[in-house]
Symmetry: C2
Subunit: 317 residues, 2 copies
């Protein structure tokens, strides 16, 4: 993977950066920012790490996560160069109508807009963390144990610990190098997948009990009543939607999460060539081919009906 | 990993082998046998592949699985050298009171008995498949796509796709080499984890609904009535016991599976230093530190009570 020389020049030129990533951050977003910030620090460069939504508690295992702030007068940052990681528009970072001194974007998502003085976009990269790995190499930064842990977490989450189709020989080689630098695969996997609270697990069971399968579309729901019954909240539904996809005949797995009465957050997961981003965009949402989402104002029955209709229009069986 | 020269000599000496593995075979057992057999075939050597229990349907994605037989007059095999993979006693392979021409054992499980003229036992190997990988290299065998797929499947299942504590940099490097030789990580992961039938998933939900948590021991049950209700069978409970371990405070996850009225198969999963093999052996079962099992004749309430008592005696909190 070739790092653009102008990106290296961009990082060389300044000593004080503003680094940010997308809203609702997950380990690829967080790990990429933390690793780059740590690398810049070894060169004596400062950085402010901003994320609009506070780092979810479940990701507090990531070293130095406390360096993130969600609460900063953005006006004070306009004089700094901004680096946008794992997303490619200011909107995705929750920033609007701000102009920065200069800007660089490092991302593995397809882009729609042309934000950024310097743009390094590699859609075939399994994770932004992989790109940061190569960037650090190019910068001559030695991988500390903490950098290795944050980058390994980034890659682990975005490949489902090497289960998704973005897993290549190169990804495993990078993983091996990060382990040699101090990343602990089992500790990281436990932190990513086995730190559910009992109440979250109880919520999960309630959600599974709502399972309906219609034309190979599996649907589960989480209602506000379930949150109340189990003492949980919206963050606790993370990953629920993946489970019905374990069934071999399920083409799309859907989670309806009730955020307000008649207001639902809908998560879609598919496999193979079934592009659920196409579905989500028709509801003004977005995402990737196999993982997308949107929000809808409707009662549950109507919301389901509309989704099934759009799916059958887009993917006639 | 150093391959014993006497093993290489053993494989060189004969042209017709009997290769077998443990009862209830899983992908490490199956993949190791298939890869070795395929390697021997490229050298013009024949092998009979025996497994006492037929290859479960869910593992039929493994190339050449149909070469296994469960039905062969064992008397006819006495003249052949036997190779025992992924286990180290004839009993574990379901073979009793048979003497073979000669014998070799390749395994990563701790041994209790000293079976085998040639014994290559490496408990720190993540999978027997890793040992076969090095053996094939030493034999100068080029990795075909099929060999790569069977060995990658072996390693994937025994490391939980690189999630367990046996995952090292070396394991990932071997994985990378197998991908380069033709293994497809996403296809294999889908085949291992996402090929559940709907009725199996329905059984899973019924099982989760029985969840009890007592002193950080999570217990779920599958009864004969549940099998009947969902149209499933005992093989369908594979992996169920792993799920309650997603909860961070759960020390041991237990599945009671009803095989007959008042006769239960009990599966135990733990994490870290909690050795459930110590528990299982007290019920005349066995296993590894974090995965063990036993059978018990009792009504469910008594069976649970006995287990909780033994756990609290062995691991006083």
């Amino acid at each position: 993977m070739k790092v653009p020389p102008e990106l290296l020049a961009f990082l060389k030129e300044d000593d004080d950066f503003f680094i940010t990533t997308h809203i609702n951050p997950e380990p690829d977003a967080l790990g990429s920012v933390l690793a780059l910030s740590s690398a810049l620090a070894t060169l004596g460069k400062r950085s402010v790490l901003y994320v609009r939504d506070p780092v979810p508690e479940m990701y507090h295992f990531m070293p130095s996560h406390e360096k993130f702030t969600s609460n900063i007068p953005l006006d004070s940052l306009k004089q700094k160069p901004i680096i946008l990681l794992d997303c490619n528009t200011l909107e995705r970072a929750g920033l609007k109508n701000i102009r920065f001194k200069s800007s660089a974007v490092i991302d593995h998502h397809e882009t729609e807009k042309e934000f950024g003085d310097i743009r390094w976009i590699v859609p075939q990269a399994a994770a932004t963390g992989i790109m940061i790995f190569y960037l650090l190499k190019e910068m001559g930064i030695a991988l500390s144990g903490d950098i290795a842990t944050t980058l390994y977490s980034a890659i682990a989450i975005d490949t489902g610990t090497f289960r998704y189709s973005n897993t290549t020989a190169e990804v495993l080689k990078v993983g091996a190098e990060l382990i040699e630098a101090g990343a602990e695969p089992a500790t990281i996997a436990t932190n990513l997948y086995e730190i559910w609270s009992e109440k979250r697990f109880r919520l999960f069971i309630l959600a599974l009990n709502t399972l309906e399968i219609i034309d190979d579309i599996a649907i589960i729901c989480v209602t506000k009543a379930m949150f109340e019954k189990t003492g949980t909240g919206p963050n606790d539904t993370e990953m629920f939607v993946s489970f019905p996809r374990m069934m071999k005949d399920v083409k799309v797995s859907v989670l309806f999460r009730q955020d307000e009465t008649d207001f639902w957050k809908v998560s879609l997961r598919s496999r193979g060539s079934m592009n659920v981003a196409r579905i989500a965009t028709q509801f003004k949402g977005g995402g990737h081919r196999n993982a997308a989402g949107y929000q809808i104002k409707a009662d549950l029955a109507t919301a389901k009906e509309k989704l099934l209709k759009i799916i059958s229009q887009n993917f006639p069986s």
